[in-house]
Symmetry: C2
Subunit: 208 residues, 2 copies
């Protein structure tokens, strides 16, 4: 029986996507399988290993606008069709998954970060094959941009890489030159203007 | 030099709290220390171990509205003052951290879940001492409500509990009676009404 209180969510930040999933679960009783090594990086930013076909219904529930794929191989037909049919923009930055490659890929990592930072691409999923090394490096650099201390960046990296953690990745993250993200020609920084809850604005600035 | 494109974020779900942190970092160059074992559960829902004084600036950046503390001990004066001065509502559900207790605490877990589910309390942080067992159980039950398959629930639990993972916690989560959350006297379920992006509403229903 439907009774009682109805609350209007008046603030932008409370958009309850996660709770919509709850509501859907209650009604449809669908079992959802997140892709392996799935995690929420921040509001509207997700990370994982390679999403197999059986996790596409889960991805659908995330209402993604974009995917950053760090694997060099083309998407399978099933994934490509999912992306097409849901109007998701796929950004592919092919980085080899081998142990040696990450240092040679700092430009590519920066390109991926740029896509990740652009709120117009959110909600966004970033993934590689296992969600450990390539994804871990991009997320680690993102945390550096958020000014997380290295101890916490390391803790998070290890949480996802587990026994496969690579010291070379950690060094890469630590050495990553944040200022490049701020100062390079096409660098974008974000500035926010608030004039009440309804008028939150994001202004992109180019630094000359 | 300020140039070029200004984009108005027109959708509720894009509120860029994470990017505001970036902007602040760029300007203030403050190093942020998340509490131990920190993680993002979902939009507006965070988890961690006990937040020491040095992670209060990080919590401040999350703009929390509520905290669920699963430890039985009272908050330290410093944390209590932080909570007071930032207008954060503290929900304390004391559960002993010992190995045996979680099965005796299913009612308390349910109470904590109810607070966690209520979007009016978001952004919300749930924590215990290490962010492994008590927090892991609540988040595990939350994932069950989201219809995650047990394999993924387990993967996430282990990610945060690491070598301290307890099979008894996993059994607790697996046995957790979701229907109780849906059907108990004060149970709340969520239903969403959409009439365009601007009129997203959350309606609480009581089941008699």
């Amino acid at each position: 029986m439907i009774l009682e209180l109805a609350a209007v969510l008046e603030e932008q930040r409370q958009s309850p996507q996660c709770l919509r999933t709850l509501a859907r679960s209650a009604v449809e009783d669908v079992m959802l399988l997140p892709p392996p090594n799935f995690g929420v990086v921040d509001r509207g930013i997700y990370r994982s290993g390679f999403p197999a076909a059986d996790s596409l219904p889960f991805l659908e529930a995330l209402e993604l606008r974009s995917i950053v794929c760090l694997c060099p191989d083309p998407y399978s037909e099933e994934n490509a069709e999912f992306v097409r049919s849901h109007g998701i923009r796929l950004f592919q930055f092919g980085i080899e998954g081998s142990r040696e490659s990450i240092n040679d890929s700092s430009y590519t990592i920066m390109e991926a970060l740029r896509v990740l930072l652009d709120a117009r691409n959110h909600p966004i999923l970033i993934h590689c094959k296992r969600g450990k090394h390539r994804t871990g490096c991009v997320v680690g650099c993102f945390r550096r941009l958020q000014n997380w201390c290295m101890t916490s960046v390391h803790e998070e990296y290890v949480k996802f890489a587990s026994t496969k953690a690579r010291p070379s990745d950690m060094v890469f993250i630590e050495k990553f030159d944040i200022s490049q993200m701020m100062e390079c020609v096409f660098g974008i920084i974000y500035r926010y203007h608030f004039s009440g809850h309804q008028a939150r604005r994001l202004v992109y600035q180019k630094i000359s």
